[in-house]
């Protein structure tokens, strides 16, 4: 029997799961309280902001959630640096989060498969191009929206940082950055992340890995065949 292959595979440890939970709670709060400010002239916005306790309260929720998310972000970055420094993160091509040329060919292969031009599905490692896109989109979004949000929360202090020649346009720039990037993030999460982790056939109603952190070996083989091969490939052969 497969004695050496465990029944489950720990995909996300408890720290990563907590980071994700903080991330999505604050994200939802930020999206809910910020949405009305993007389109205040719409009648429903005024109703919606009252649901969140009026503009003053909603603004406070938004600031607290924003700072919590930034702290979560900083925690994550420090955690990742620590993991890299202690050699706990593998840079193997089937394990890494770094985008590689393979991701582009995977995308093309996948699109060809979708359109029926090919019968071969691409095989993914620990992170498929979708996961990498998801991760880096959020990473970039948090950096941009978080930084501009900090500037908007503390405008007097932020103004010391800007060079004199930028003062004619910097605030408009920061405002556009915060608002348009937030729209992008919300639509991205609502559409892409929800499809991939909730609506997709094999995950519906949701992929439980965010809560348990564990994948069954069946799923592991199916969703991350290259990582499976890397981790348990030789053992499997022994069993045979």
């Amino acid at each position: 029997m497969n004695k050496e292959i465990p029944e489950e595979y720990l995909r996300f440890n408890i720290i990563e799961r907590i980071q994700h939970i903080i991330l999505f709670t604050t994200f939802l709060l930020l999206a809910f309280t910020g949405w009305a400010v993007k389109y205040p002239e719409i009648e429903q916005s005024q109703w919606w902001i009252r649901v969140w306790g009026g503009p003053e309260t909603a603004g406070m929720i938004h600031r607290v959630a924003g700072i919590t998310m930034l702290l979560d972000f900083i925690w994550h970055v420090i955690y990742m640096i620590y993991r890299i420094a202690t050699g706990k993160i593998s840079f193997h091509k089937y394990k890494t989060l770094i985008p590689l040329p393979k991701d582009l060919t995977d995308l093309v292969k996948n699109l060809l498969y979708f359109m029926g031009a090919s019968r071969e599905k691409p095989l993914f490692g620990r992170f498929s191009y979708l996961h990498k896109f998801d991760y880096w989109a959020v990473f970039w979004g948090m950096a941009i929206i978080g930084l501009s949000g900090l500037f908007l929360t503390f405008p007097v202090q932020a103004s010391h940082l800007f060079p004199a020649w930028s003062l004619n346009w910097i605030w408009e720039l920061i405002f556009i950055m915060h608002s348009d990037e937030a729209l992008l993030a919300i639509v991205f999460i609502l559409f892409f992340h929800f499809y991939n982790e909730h609506l997709r056939w094999e995950h519906f109603p949701m992929n439980m890995v965010w809560l348990t952190g564990r994948l069954t070996m069946e799923k592991m083989k199916h969703e991350h065949p290259l990582e499976y091969e890397l981790e348990f490939g030789d053992k499997k052969e022994v069993d045979k």
Partner: protein, 308 residues
């Protein structure tokens, strides 16, 4: 007997209604509260109707009509000599006659009680525009406060200068392109306010964000480059500092009301770039999800046998 009763009732009714206003006012309103329509005056049509109920509820409700309509004495509609009009009011009436469409004396009569505010206004850009330049489109008392018959305290939601209405009231003139062009004020001032964080929060009902008058002041509003103007660059640190403690000269440049256009290229093209990024990403994720959904359906229902 019947006649006696009737007379008594009429007297009772008369005395009952006299109670809130005095006899003089009652006499005027007896006709003017029921009259409808407009009569032609020299410069404009005059609405002769006065809503007696709203008048009674206004801040001026207890006043005699003739306290402001000083041209009319006990014999209505027979203009009196200037002698009965106080000297200050008469002088002011002459100054603002270009603005007044009907009766400059009645317009100037606000001075009688509100001389402090009237004094500030006379030195303001709105006041000087009327008094010194004789412009009829400058703002006087009634342009912002509405008809003196119906003025309510600024804390009332119905007041035109209540913080929830004041931006709209300023917009009555400052949203007009003709005014913006005539006085070289720049267009889209209100639009830019509504686009700003101050304006967005204001529309949502935030009670602590500034409206027009919090930065520009009201009765003593000045041209922006007047040394006394609160929005002159040198004075802004104080004005912005009312809310933004420690506001510096660098900080106060952040509010301009300038439109984002090609004359301010950095945010203009940055926004264009972001829109391309936005649409590009949407196009990618939408087509990816749609294609994948179709292939998933195809795999589940039409290629099922092959997988087994």
């Amino acid at each position: 007997m019947k006649r006696v009763c009737m007379t008594a009732l009429l007297w009772f009714l008369l005395l009952f209604f006299i109670h809130p206003a005095n006899a003089d006012t009652f006499g005027c309103l007896a006709c003017h509260s029921t009259m409808k329509g407009k009569v032609k005056a020299e410069k404009a049509l005059v609405d002769v109707h006065v809503d007696s109920e709203r008048y009674a509820q206004s801040v001026h409700g207890g006043m005699d009509c003739t306290e402001c309509h000083q041209k009319f004495g006990s014999n209505p509609h027979q203009p009196q000599d200037d002698g009965d009009i106080s000297g200050d009011v008469a002088a002011l009436a002459k100054n603002i006659s270009g603005k007044a469409e009907v009766d400059p004396v009645a317009m100037a009569a606000c001075l009688g009680c509100h001389d402090d505010v009237y004094g500030l206004w006379q030195q303001s850009i709105h006041g000087m525009n009327i008094i010194e330049k004789g412009q009829a489109d400058g703002a006087a008392c009634t342009d912002c406060h509405g008809s003196p018959h119906y003025i309510t305290p600024a804390t009332e939601p119905s007041s035109l200068v209540n913080r929830n209405n004041v931006v709209k009231s300023c917009g009555e003139c400052h949203e007009k392109e003709s005014i913006a062009e005539k006085y070289n004020l720049g267009t889209h001032i209100l639009e830019r306010y509504y686009e700003s964080f101050h304006g967005k929060k204001y529309v949502l009902g935030h009670q602590n964000v500034p409206t027009c008058v919090d930065c520009h002041r009201s009765h003593d509003i000045k041209k922006w480059d007047d040394p006394e103007s609160p929005v002159l660059w040198d004075n802004r640190t104080v004005t912005c500092g009312k809310c933004h403690e420690g506001a510096t000269k660098k900080f106060v440049t952040s509010v301009t009301h300038k439109p984002i256009g090609k004359d301010n290229p950095v945010p203009y093209y940055f926004e264009k770039g972001l829109i391309v990024l936005l649409l590009g990403t949407f196009l990618f994720i939408v087509s990816h999800v749609v294609l994948e959904t179709f292939s998933e359906i195809r795999d589940r229902f039409f290629r099922k046998r092959k997988e087994e």
